[in-house]
């Protein structure tokens, strides 16, 4: 870059540090909020649906039907309650009293032994996607458990399938959620921080003064991003401490690799904020844009909760421009799987590419013209 002067950029960085230190409220928030949110949601989020109210209509009332109901009950997922009729069950589902209903017609027990087909109706409330999906996921296991209880001739597993869940044998969903949370929160805060900083200087007129000196836009951008990288690293550090010692989330990979990924992610997120700041030149607009373009896409499209692999092809490619998506893979890979640098080459390269792209965009879009 022609004429990029490190001294001038450093002067801008020093000034930015002073601004940050003089705003203790924001500083405390940036360092403390991630920890608070991770702690809160680390406890709050649990993908296992339990204690679902189940309306049971058992017209058969044989040993087998009662065994079936007890299988549901002992699974811990359902709380069965009796209903008088299918209509009552339907009303219960409508009102939300029951999340699902089990309807056993007379002849179920007989049908079991007779080599025929004994079927029961299982009705799921489809309005809540997370619940419905989970419930449907329980059915195969419940079928198997019921078969075992019946002592049926055909074994539940004609071919024994031994499943081993690697890295997380107890299926602790916190290990999945907490790194994801950290990524989202830190990514969002980064964008919010830098989105204002350039716009503020335009709005209060100091940018004009800066531009009347030999200072170049590239130096302004570099000087403004640098201090925040440090802040982010500190935030990530605290969150990691909480995750490890508070929630027992493992850290099986290389710290250096994680650090590198964090720096790249920080740069990408901060650059995104700077682009917004440079383009909007107005604080209010910068904030609106960063919130709107940051919050929902980050939460919904980064693979935090809704898997990227489940998206249609177009969107799977679309999410490639979201830096949280890549750092999510890196964070989870390093902490839970212990993945190495060559395993994570793609996410790392993608993050680096995003960084470069966004920084270039910030630089190109930095208009130095003043209004008449």
């Amino acid at each position: 870059m022609t004429g990029f002067d490190l001294h001038r950029a450093a002067a801008v960085a020093r000034k930015e540090v002073m601004h940050i230190l003089r705003d203790p409220f924001t500083l405390a928030l940036v360092l403390g909020l991630p920890v608070v949110l991770v702690v809160f949601f680390g406890f709050a989020i649990d993908f296992d649906v339990k204690n679902l109210a189940l309306g049971v209509y058992d017209r058969d009332n044989t040993r087998h039907s009662r065994q079936l109901v007890s299988v549901f009950e002992s699974s811990g997922y359902f709380l069965p309650g009796a209903v008088d009729s299918p209509a009552a069950a339907a009303r219960g589902l409508d009102s939300g009293r029951y999340s699902a209903a089990l309807l056993v017609e007379p002849g179920f027990g007989r049908g079991l032994g007779g080599g025929g087909r004994a079927r029961v109706q299982f009705i799921v409330d489809g309005t809540d996607n997370s619940k419905a999906q989970a419930v449907l996921g329980y059915l195969p296991g419940l079928t198997g458990a019921a078969l075992r209880k019946f002592g049926a001739a055909i074994p539940a597993d004609p071919v024994p399938l031994k499943t081993r869940f690697m890295y997380n044998p107890e299926l602790n969903s916190r290990w999945f959620v907490i790194p994801g949370l950290a990524v989202i929160i830190i990514g969002l805060l980064s964008i919010l921080m830098t989105a204002l900083t350039v716009a503020r200087e335009w709005e209060n007129g100091s940018m004009e003064l800066l531009l009347s000196t030999p200072l170049r836009p590239a130096e302004i951008i570099a000087g403004k991003i640098a201090p925040y990288v440090g802040l982010i690293l500190a935030g990530v550090f605290f969150v990691n401490l909480v995750a490890r010692f508070g929630f027992g989330v493992p850290f099986r990979g290389s710290h250096l690799l994680f650090l590198g990924g964090t720096v790249l992610f920080a740069l990408a997120s901060l650059s995104q904020g700077i682009v917004i700041s440079v383009v909007t030149r107005q604080q209010q607009l910068a904030m609106q844009l960063s919130m709107i373009s940051g919050l929902l896409p980050s939460l919904l499209l980064s693979g935090f909760i809704f898997p990227v692999e489940s998206m249609p092809i177009f969107f799977r490619y679309f999410t490639m421009i979201l830096s949280p998506r890549w750092f999510m893979e890196i964070a989870r890979g390093v902490t839970i799987r212990g993945a190495g640098a060559d395993d994570l080459a793609l996410p790392l390269a993608a993050l680096a590419a995003l960084c470069a792209l966004l920084l270039a965009a910030a630089f190109k879009k930095f208009k130095t013209d003043l209004e008449p």
Binding site: T26, L33, F41, F43, A44, I45, D46, F47, V49, S95, G96, F108, R117, V120, I123, G126, T127, N129, S130, A132, G137, L139, P140, A146, L147, A152, A153, D157, P158, V159, P160, L161, K162, T163, F165, M166, N168, N172, S173, F176, I185, L188, R200, Q284, L285, M287, I292, L295, L296, P297, L299, I305, F306, E309, S310, F318, R332, R337, G338, A339
Partner: protein, 366 residues
Amino acid sequence: MKRTLLAFIRKEFAQALRDPRMKLILFVMPMIQMTVFGLALSSEIKNIKLASVYAPSDAAARRLAQRFTASGWFLPVAAEGRAPEDLVVSGAADAALVFPAGGFARQAARGRGGVQLLVDGTSVTRARSVEAYARAIFAAHAAAEAGLPVSAAPFGFDVRIIYNPEMESPVFMVPGVMGMIVCLVTIILTSMSLTRERELGTFETIVSAPLENYEILLGKTLPYIVLGLANAALVIAAGFFIFGVPVRGDLWRLFSAALAFVITTVSVGTLISTVSKNQQQAMLGGFIFLFPAVLMSGIMYPVENMPALLKPVVYANPLYYFTTLLRNILLKGGDHAVFVFNMSALAAMAVAAGAAAYGRFRQTLN
């Protein structure tokens, strides 16, 4: 007095709408987000990368492995001589099927036909789904190999999903996403616009107007309430026309729910603006409200499971009630008991938030 208030409201409205960017945020952005999220989001687990490890000569194993690919859930990944654990560590595979050495069929006859399924345990929902799919495929395979039709298992469930029988993802997701978008738009617009006025000092011009405090507050917030309602209407219409999300309930119920919700969020936005000294704090304040609100609305994960200690936060979240109401009214047709309960909660919040906003607002004016 009434006439001055109306004139004031009209002026605020004109000002708010004059900004072309406001229209962008209110109308264009939500549409884009609705489309993207409605089409993209699905909690259904699919496209699972599966590596199958078996000797090249093992025909029985190959047949079973092919069933996995044919099911549509799994994408085959070549093992290329790497150990299955390696494949999962590196992320090349999400799961690995390891057949017993010495031929699958032969081992099965000896009762030692155990197949190992290694699953990446990082994502619990995905891990469970992988196991569930695998079991189902195994069962079907066993039945097919034994020459029995699949449905000859001794018993099974007839599953019916009501309110969304085709399990169309958009119908699952869109009501939730709608609520999120309306929440986001109203909070951002209100908290930031009002803070900006305070920063620029244009608030002073209002104080000189011959209006009561509550009239000033009304004048300032009414445009955003109306705009928020318009945004909600747009979003619901988009859901209906683009995604086929049904509107099975009464429109007046929908309107009341939206009204109560928008009043609450606009009040929250106003509150944020009164405690923020500058734009940056307003933004952080908005974030502090929005992030938990969206996460704990019941869209991302079931909130009924939350530990009792933390549950009160859900009950204080207006987006939770609004999402419940949206889902109930749109998909279920609007059950009266549900409506009354959630509307009362939402209305109570609207009143509380409005009162708090008014109290703080009055303070800042003096």
